[in-house]
Symmetry: C2
Subunit: 183 residues, 2 copies
């Protein structure tokens, strides 16, 4: 049994893919030696359903790379469009010189299985451990296992944001149902 962060609801591992597969911009938190950081990220993909495996590119020029490499842990937090200003702000500066939690008013909550914090304001948080580093040196590609997933109950489905490049973002639109036999 793990501690439930305030306001969060546990999500079954088999449902994690539905959060990342549509391609949202995410906020990735890391921690090392008692210091936490957060970066904006959108180069990620699901790799397996259960346990949920995720591939995630973290540039070796980023401060988060150092933390992720050293600690082997991160949390992938999914923000809605209401956090768009903070998401872009986190992408425009480096944790080397800024405490981004303080600057952007993001609330760190203790995770249950890893050291990096959840972000309270995000509607989903995936606690991850690095399970494969074979493609890190060449591609900055980390293979992560989601060891615990949380969501925040919301009245309406949150609108996610999707990076189109050069300051343009797509906001998730209407949902349609099609007779898919895909999972």
């Amino acid at each position: 049994m793990v501690n439930r962060p305030p306001g969060k609801r546990s999500l079954a591992p088999s449902h994690v893919y539905a959060l990342l597969e549509p391609g949202p911009v995410v906020l990735l938190t890391t921690a090392y030696r008692g210091r936490a950081n957060v970066m904006t990220q959108s180069w990620h993909t699901m790799i397996d359903f259960e346990p949920p495996i995720v591939g995630c590119v973290v540039s070796d020029r980023s401060f988060s790379f150092t933390f992720l490499r050293a600690s082997g842990e991160c949390v992938i937090n999914v923000p809605s469009v209401r956090l768009a200003a903070q998401v872009v702000g986190c992408g425009n500066c480096s944790g080397r010189t800024v405490d981004k939690f303080a600057r952007f008013g993001l609330t760190a909550l203790p995770a249950s299985r890893v050291q990096p914090p959840l972000i309270a304001e995000c509607h989903a948080s995936l606690e991850c451990k690095v399970v494969d580093t074979r493609l890190v040196s060449k591609y900055d590609l980390f293979i992560l296992e989601v060891v615990k997933a949380w969501t925040t109950p919301t009245k309406r489905p949150p609108r996610t944001i999707h990076h189109l490049g050069s300051g343009l973002f797509m906001v998730s639109g209407k949902t349609i149902r099609l007779p898919s036999r895909m999972r």
Copy 2:
């Protein structure tokens, strides 16, 4: 100089990321020994800008896996919501028993640098070669280099579709501009 497929416009390598980063469902074409196939896919991520490197998960249970593994080539085609029925149809059957191009009325166009065809009805097509197979046996994850990219000029930005799981799809919504310094 490569042959330009009819109706298509060449896209600079540095612009490719804007097509895949928002997470659209794509149609992946492969070919082997003169036979082409197409599968529906949405587990992919950008890995590098230029040359554009893409990570792509193709299940080893799929017919496309055999073709991709044997030929080392594929084309990632980006459909708009107008092709939603065909996209779902291609995901619901296997090329082992069906000629999906014929069944779903998809027009195969010769690519310029690889054997698998472009799909004329898709608004973007990325010709890819497999450049790293280290994570194929464990994760079905192929590392691809986009060797040539094509788009179809359209009056309005095409609405892409994004898989939410279990037959639910999000259609891309409005576009917003934010003061991002991210590429």
